[in-house]
């Protein structure tokens, strides 16, 4: 089966690198699956999980924002943060979720804080979901 080189890079270093059969991401327009020999493409990502299919196994990675660059034989995902399920700190994500929820409840009036808390909540939920899917 044809494969493509896939790299997931963050400012703190590379998270994933290897030959894969399919990459599925969540963009701002919706879910997007990339197979080898895709046309060159650039698109921003939202907070969500990336699914990477390799040797018929699916690897999940939680990303917070960033963007993806696709070439016929190469996929590069640049994210502000990206974590493999095994690297997610579940207690921290739970705490972040609770904190964000509390803040959301309090800060309904102020728009700035509201948005921030909403993003924090999304990130926390995303991390928790990805880490739970591991089992």
């Amino acid at each position: 089966m044809k494969t493509m080189q896939t790299n997931v890079v963050t400012p703190d270093g590379s998270v994933f690198s290897g030959e894969t059969e399919m990459v599925s991401v969540k963009t701002q327009e919706g879910e997007l699956g990339i197979l080898p020999r895709h046309l060159p493409l650039v698109t921003p990502l939202t907070i969500g999980a990336i699914r990477i299919k390799k040797d018929s196994k699916v690897q999940l990675i939680a990303v917070s924002g960033g963007f993806m660059e696709v070439r016929p034989d190469e996929v590069n995902i640049l994210a502000e943060s990206a974590e493999l399920p095994s690297n997610i700190d579940i207690t921290r994500a739970r705490a972040a979720k609770e904190r964000a929820e509390r803040r959301l409840a309090e800060a309904r009036k102020e728009n700035v804080d509201f948005k921030r808390a909403e993003l924090a909540l999304k990130r926390a939920i995303n991390r928790l979901e990805v880490s739970e899917n591991r089992m």
Binding site: P11, G66, F67, E80
Partner: protein
């Protein structure tokens, strides 16, 4: 000549100082190693973003963004100055701050024309003492900073540019050349006018960041939107890159400062030991003289 006891105390205290400087030298060497690795693992990220931004900016016609264009009138200039939190690192901070002061004094006549974003305690105290306009400050960064540590300060600075509070932004930091050589560097951060030439600033990335042909990208949703999202990211990552570079320089500078301190202590111990031996010899000679003199007087 100082008394024997005095010299002895000085020798032992110098020895203790030497132990400390020696330890600090080794700690800095280890940290330098780590910082260099960090800077290396970060490099692909900036390279990739730059590559995509350049190819969008070059390949798509009619795409422009405020962050890519020079402003006709420069009302206010922002300076991001990266210093260390602690001293004992030779000329690391003083050289940088002197250069910053020189440039600011040359370019601006009043404090209304510039603003400072400062990283590191030494720089903050320096500018505070001189009553210079500090817009943002961050101190107490860990030795191996993470992107999230400076994300907010970087994002706010980029926003200040977007909101036209600053019309241009410069980065001042020590560029790491080798463990014994750091160069005070000024880099223009915003507007991003020199995307193409940017590559030459980071010599080691020369080969890897070579754009592979000019691919015809599809942009989802469109090129303008992507630029809008990507450029702030790029600017932020440049700030982070400078910080990592500065951290590596800091440890390099501290390492060589501590090495010369250790060497100095060695020399001092040698000198002191010499004068200690002389003083001891003199004391013995005197004692013999006294005995001989006493014996001669009795006979």
């Amino acid at each position: 000549m100082a008394s024997l006891k005095e010299i002895k105390t000085r020798i032992s205290s110098t020895k203790k100082t030497k132990q400390i400087t020696k330890a600090m030298e080794m700690v800095s060497a280890a940290k330098l190693n780590k910082a260099q690795n960090r800077a290396e693992s970060f490099q692909p990220y900036t390279d990739k973003i730059r590559e995509v931004v350049t190819s969008i900016a070059a390949g798509t016609e009619g795409v422009s963004h405020p962050m890519l264009e020079d402003r006709p009138e420069i009302k206010k200039t922002g300076y991001i100055v990266i210093t260390s939190d602690r001293g004992l690192c030779g000329a690391y901070n003083s050289g940088l701050l002197r250069e910053t002061m020189r440039l600011i004094n040359k370019r601006h006549s009043s404090p209304d024309e510039y603003g400072i974003v400062v990283i590191g305690r030494v720089g903050r105290d320096f500018f505070k003492k001189r009553n210079m306009p500090i817009y943002q400050e961050i101190t107490g960064l860990p030795d191996q900073p993470e992107y999230t540590d400076i994300k907010s300060i970087a994002a706010t600075t980029v926003e200040m540019f977007e909101d036209e509070l600053f019309d241009e932004v410069y980065l001042h930091y020590n560029h790491f050349v080798s463990a014994i050589s750091q160069v005070v560097t000024e880099a223009k951060l915003l507007p991003l006018t020199d995307l193409g030439e940017e590559v030459e600033n980071t010599e080691d990335s020369g080969e890897s960041s070579e754009p592979v042909g000019n691919l015809d990208y599809i942009y989802e949703p469109d090129a303008g939107t992507i630029l809008e999202q990507l450029l702030p990211h790029y600017a932020e990552s440049l700030i982070f890159g400078a910080l990592l570079d500065g951290k590596a320089s800091e440890f390099g500078a501290r390492m060589s400062a501590m090495r010369s301190a250790t060497d100095n202590a060695d020399n001092m111990i040698d000198d002191l030991t010499l004068s200690y031996n002389r003083a001891r010899q003199a004391a013995i000679t005197q004692e013999i003289n006294e005995i001989v003199g006493g014996a001669a007087a009795q006979s």
